[in-house]
Symmetry: D2
């Protein structure tokens, strides 16, 4: 994901289409990877990617949260190509016990699920409400079952017309953390999240359209270490006169860098994450925004005001 | 459930077999309902029922907790009629956001799940460890999917040899709360828990043996009101001389009593529960005991000491 | 507290002044107990009592929450008789580990505290902001220190001009639970809350004006039992012809009733509370409303919109 | 703190006394800074410092936890120079809402406080139990009151004979995190913890002996970045032949390094912390160990078994 990082460089690659959109405090990037060749070139799967970047989302401004939910709902709606009577299954990936990995389960709890009402009390369902159900399947270490197996099992039984999967992501850069929402129709890639979930959820594996929603909530500690080294190297290169820099740093291979990073983090290994101190509040806030947006996008009959009331 | 309540009256009913067992601070009742006639007579399904009553379990004594886990493991083992290479699926029913309903999900988190290890890293699995997986499916109001549908979907895909379902119960009497663990092979009945889960999980519905483990954590407020009325009626009857009592109380029909109770609880309706103030600690403790017992019962190669280490 | 219950009967007692006010979905009662004689007669301390009753507060309607916060701020402002440059100490009573007792600590966390800013960074403080500080002292069983001693110690050192104490209450009736906010200038009475906090916080003990804010969040299980018995007795009396009722029920003394209630609740004793299942959400919501109202009432320069942004 | 880091270099400085002790899986360092000159030289205050290093503490082994609690109790006892009838006030510093900063408040909740029992029910107090009370005062951003002012106020009122302050620390190195417990009689230094608490708690400021207990639970993200740069510089120096290294890196001033680090972390600034994913469990476990140790050290009549039962 993290599509927009690629904008500058990739804007003119064949098979890539890209556009930016802007509203106050919200920057939207829409990227489409149209050909396999382009996909290989930029290291992403074929498909559509939308990224909302909202640095001020960390500032706890309810008006901005509303506007982001609204815009997110609109962008998401463009991904939802199923009729109103379709059944939508929302999957909240991640571990509800690990705060930065809890976005998915938190969104599930805030969803307006209706599938059971359609069968149990259809009279309470107004027009404009879709049949929505949801599951937070938990993580492999707790269930002993691959997440994709659980989702597949539910899909095989309920035959939803669309799966929407929400997951926390480990950002490649600090400025993404808790300020970015990503939508894609290319599925959720294995190991993309905070934990290690392995098999992809996408149309090929599940046999149904999958929309992935990703929210970066942490940065890997290795990223911090790597960034620090890169910045230092770059600073040093500027200092070394002539072609001295090439002499020194040309010898510095990627695997050497990885070894150094591993040495820095060695006592606690790969389980380290970098988060802001206010992580609990950030995660609550963004889960709320995503849930509001989902509720509005899934139920055409629901206004943002309804969503605000229903979404706790 | 609540088998032991029936002991006194039912000990001599045909088709009912019953025995008591005792160790310090722990009272065990084993009940078997052998015939359909007996089942109808006592209002329970055919099957085996074991109840551990441990009033001191509320006292936070780790030694007693260990002994209860141990005894529970032994009783449970008698229910587990599958070979060592069988796959066991543990279902933690209930809502992890409502403390007294969270027993099931809490136990799931404390289980030693191994199914993924058998395929991913079989070399770490010692002999004496079964393939165990687990799921906390959540409640209907959050998922929009009947719990039984989710379980059925997982069963259809994973083909476990045994399902064990753990649930919080609303006790019929205060002295059961947080001091009782119940095991049964007759499945989990609809609506038995704190919430309203509707379709039964049993061999008929799932096509696989189901062991139900129930832990009463609340009393319905209606039960308190009902008990208070019964006690008052009884006290009054003792006071009324001659056959006056019959005259008054004979007119008092069950539905009339239910109407009175509803009137008492009217402002907050059926969502009221009665819990001790220390409910969080109690629920944690009992979930821990159940998880330790399950770990030992499911993995013959695991000692209580291993279980204590592994069960957080 | 629970002033309004007394309205009907006491409206015409000498030394009692009372008025009702109404806005959509909110009923306000203002009671003043002016004389010692009146205080004795109705069993309340001399002072002013305002009660906001909002049955729909349980419905999670953000607009209503805003209006209640607003109205609560206005009523509270009438209690605050200190100049703008005064220092206000807010005390959040109760135990943050016991959900229905956590209102006080939750409000403290949502307050806009400024006292440290006045000394550390006075330049960020706009006009219209008071010096506000806050403490959640915890409960006797955890601290080993009487709450009143902690508060006294802080008051002796910081010399605030006003103390505002917030506490959860055990309601005398179910329809108060999670729908009522009470304000009083007569201090917080010992043992009024969910736990047992013993010495009063008031002008006599602390030497500074004390405004008490109380929110009923539970009903004692004994209240349910008692209500059930009362309703049954009343129903029976209506059934017994002639003066039979008097014969039976005249013999029924209060201590006898208390004994019956104790017998009903015996296995778990006095630690039982009756709460709705959604207690966590209710407590969060009302703490939020109280904190918003406090923020607006304490800082004349703060609008409800500011408060909404600042109050998480 | 982090005394042991200095061992190698400082063992032979005048005015420094140092010893190591060892038991399986536990390494103990005892350091005494005896003179002002020595204090200046090693950048620590005069006083005694004991550090328990237990890398395996991250492994959740209850037997090891018991042994660490036991050893910690013994080391702490050597710091407690008050008679048995003394009153001890325990202060749990930090913010209970920020997991890695919650050690102090968690320990307070697990303490066996007795001060109230001495006055309310002296008959339940056996010999060998000290009068212990405790407070978790919260952090400046929530209270608006300097922590030192709150503690001073309580000390002025209760006149304890000893204050013990527990705090989470930001470690200078990853291998300290969640595996180290530190004891000192030199007070708690300003800004030492996860948050910024400013004035020291020590004999000079409070007028009573202060024992500080510190547990590193996070590493600052800046530390990771700094470590990464140092390691890279060192690696590069080894690669540059002759005196080239000196030419390049001699120009590299500390403030330049700090500027680079700030640039790396810029999007989220100083509020970043590095924690292991299992931070919640680690913090619970260590708080439990510290509380057990405190309970045994403070109450000579309490055995480790009693402590285990009492310390939830």
């Amino acid at each position: 994901m993290e599509a927009n990082e690629l904008l500058g460089e990739n804007a003119h690659i064949r098979g890539i289409q890209m556009e930016n959109d802007e509203e106050p405090q919200i920057h939207i990037t829409r990227l489409e990877v149209k050909t396999l060749a382009a996909a290989k070139q930029i290291g992403k799967l074929q498909g559509k990617y939308v990224t909302l970047e909202v640095p001020d989302l960390r500032k706890k401004d309810p008006d901005l949260q509303d506007r982001v939910a609204n815009r997110f709902a609109k962008e998401l709606t463009a991904f939802i190509n199923v009729p109103e009577q379709a059944v939508v299954l929302v999957i909240g990936l991640g571990n509800w016990n690990v705060t930065p990995d809890a976005i998915g389960p938190l969104v599930v709890e805030d969803l307006f699920v209706t599938r059971h009402l359609f069968s149990l009390m259809p009279e309470v369902i107004d027009e404009g409400f879709r049949s929505v159900c949801a599951l937070a399947p938990g993580v492999l270490g707790i269930t002993g079952i691959e997440t994709s197996e659980i989702v597949q099992a539910i899909v095989d039984r309920l035959h939803p017309d669309l799966v929407i999967a929400i997951d926390a992501l480990a950002a490649r850069s600090l400025d993404r953390v808790n300020s970015t929402i990503q939508i894609s129709d290319s599925g959720i890639q294995p190991g993309a999240g905070v934990g290690n979930r392995r098999r992809a959820l996408n149309r090929e594996t599940l046999g149904v359209d999958v929309i992935a929603i990703g929210v970066p909530t942490v940065v890997d500690a290795a990223t911090i270490a790597s960034d620090a080294m890169d910045l230092l190297l770059q600073t040093l290169e500027n200092k070394v006169p002539g072609n001295g820099a090439g002499r020194i740093f040309g010898q510095f291979a990627p695997q050497e860098k990885r070894a150094l990073i591993a040495e820095v983090l060695q006592p606690l290994g790969n389980n380290l994450m970098v988060t802001p101190k206010e992580i609990d509040e950030f995660v609550d806030d963004i889960a709320h925004v995503v849930a509001m947006g989902l509720n509005v996008a899934l139920h055409p009959g629901m206004s943002m005001e309804d969503a605000r009331e229903l979404t706790h």
